[in-house]
């Protein structure tokens, strides 16, 4: 019985890995207050004197559960994703998620003493939930929209962030669309090259 249980756990573990499920799902009613608390935590972490690497690890520990990384990768690659085999999909997702994390980390270094606050929320349709926030600079206000989608019944995950009107996913999508004639290997090589530069810069 114990063996069966272990095999079941193992199989479910593989399944979880395959679909990249988050550790816990976000319920609609809890997203806004939770994000509010987590953004405050993030600002506190950023204000500490810790190294960027330490800050990153603490921030990803908080925010990893928000992201539907697999969906973000698919949306970024667009129609071309459907033509990939499983192994290519896995390689692309892995490289793209690393790219997103590197990108996110670098932006953290730019944080000075701005304040961030949630200004509202909306459900443009039953499958979407947007949270509006703003970062206040000296004279300017930068608007941010955290975009969640309904992954399952009352389970929401983040699939895009819109910063001053610029969607992160759309920006990658435009680049990959332009590179589609160069082929999947070229796209992957470019992402990996960027990741390698960032990885080397961390050491």
């Amino acid at each position: 019985m114990k063996k069966i249980f272990l095999k079941l756990l193992f199989a479910l573990g593989i399944l979880e890995f395959l679909v990249i499920l988050p550790l816990s799902a976000l319920e609609l009613g809890t997203i806004k207050p939770k994000l509010n608390v987590d953004l405050r935590k993030a600002v506190e972490i950023l204000a500490t004197q810790k190294s960027l690497k330490e800050k990153e690890s603490e921030l990803f520990a908080i925010f990893d559960e928000y992201f539907d990384y697999a969906l973000m990768a698919r949306l970024a690659l667009g129609e071309a994703y459907k033509g990939l085999n499983d192994e290519q999909k896995k390689r692309f997702e892995s490289a793209f998620v690393a790219r997103l994390k590197f990108s996110f980390s670098e932006k953290l270094g730019l944080y000075t003493n701005q304040s961030i606050e949630i200004t509202g929320d909306e459900s443009p349709n039953p499958k979407r939930y947007f949270i509006h926030a703003q970062i206040k600079g000296e004279n300017e206000v930068y608007k941010i929209i955290f975009k969640f989608h309904k992954k399952a019944e009352n389970e929401y995950l983040l699939y895009d962030i819109d910063i001053v009107g610029v969607s992160i996913i759309q920006t990658y999508r435009a680049q990959f669309e332009d590179l589609k004639n160069a082929g999947f290997d070229e796209i992957l090589a470019r992402i990996n090259a960027k990741n390698a530069i960032d990885e080397a810069g961390k050491k």
């Binding site: 079941l8 730019l110 920006t171």
Partner: protein, 246 residues
């Protein structure tokens, strides 16, 4: 045991199929949200070349100059110069708001200009927003064109200035005739060569101060680009569309 494993496999297969179906449905759900990223770009060859040229020019010339300026000029001086030019460009924002029928916003801009020019010592100090809480309404002429429903047209990368499009390039020409700098020594009147280079000098000073305030802004913005030209083209279009909608 075999029966159990078989049923488990069937369960997992069914679950995987369900997950896959859900994923495909999710994917199609997003097709309206994320437009097919094909862009009408008849100048793409030239645009790519000019993006590369501007990029090289930034790293070879502008960035070292901006960094030098940033190192030498104290922060309050840079802020003062930036405030001065922002105040000087009031006519562009004023006309931009009027053309969009935003008369209250245009009035805010008018009051801000009057306050910053007087209490702010010719605009060197920004007091209208920080002390009088008058909001800024940073509208330009091309935004007004967009507000009227004029589409962006095809992308154009301008030398030094960078990413733009047909509508915004026409807007820049219109702004040249509203910009006070153009009249500093008769450039807008067609007598530039008979006079001095005060206008172009001021324009260069503006670029130097803006670039010198954030010398690495462009580098940071473009660092994540997998393919520089479509990255800049798409980011620019998205940002401009958002500005027009605001």
């Amino acid at each position: 045991m075999k029966a159990f494993m078989l049923s488990l496999l069937l369960f997992l297969s069914a679950f995987c199929a369900e997950v896959e179906n859900t994923s495909n449905n999710d994917f199609s759900d997003f097709s309206t949200e994320f437009n097919k990223a094909e862009v009408f770009d008849p100048l793409s060859g030239y645009n790519r070349f000019m993006t590369g040229f501007n990029n090289s020019l930034y790293y070879a010339f502008f960035r070292p100059v901006f960094k030098g300026y940033n190192a030498v000029v104290p922060e309050p001086a840079k802020k003062g110069v930036s405030n001065f030019f922002y105040n000087l460009f009031f006519p562009i924002r004023f006309v931009g708001n009027i053309l969009q029928f935003r008369f209250m916003d245009a009035t805010d801009e008018l009051f801000s200009f009057a306050i910053n020019t007087t209490f702010g010592v010719a605009g060197l100090f920004e007091v209208a927003n920080t002390h009088f809480n008058i909001p800024r309404h940073d509208e330009d002429i091309a935004q007004a064109f967009g507000h009227w429903g004029i589409g962006s047209g095809f992308p154009i990368v301008l030398p030094i200035i960078g990413q733009s499009n047909l509508r915004d390039s026409v807007g820049l020409v219109a702004e040249f005739f509203i910009n006070p700098i153009s009249y500093a020594d008769g450039w807008a009147g067609g007598h530039a060569w008979k006079n001095s280079f005060i206008g172009p000098g001021m324009g260069a000073g503006y670029i130097l101060n803006e670039g010198g305030t954030n010398p690495d802004e462009y580098r940071i913005l473009t660092k994540d680009a997998i393919d520089l030209y479509p990255f800049l083209r798409d980011t620019y279009e998205q940002r401009r569309n958002a500005q027009i909608k605001e």
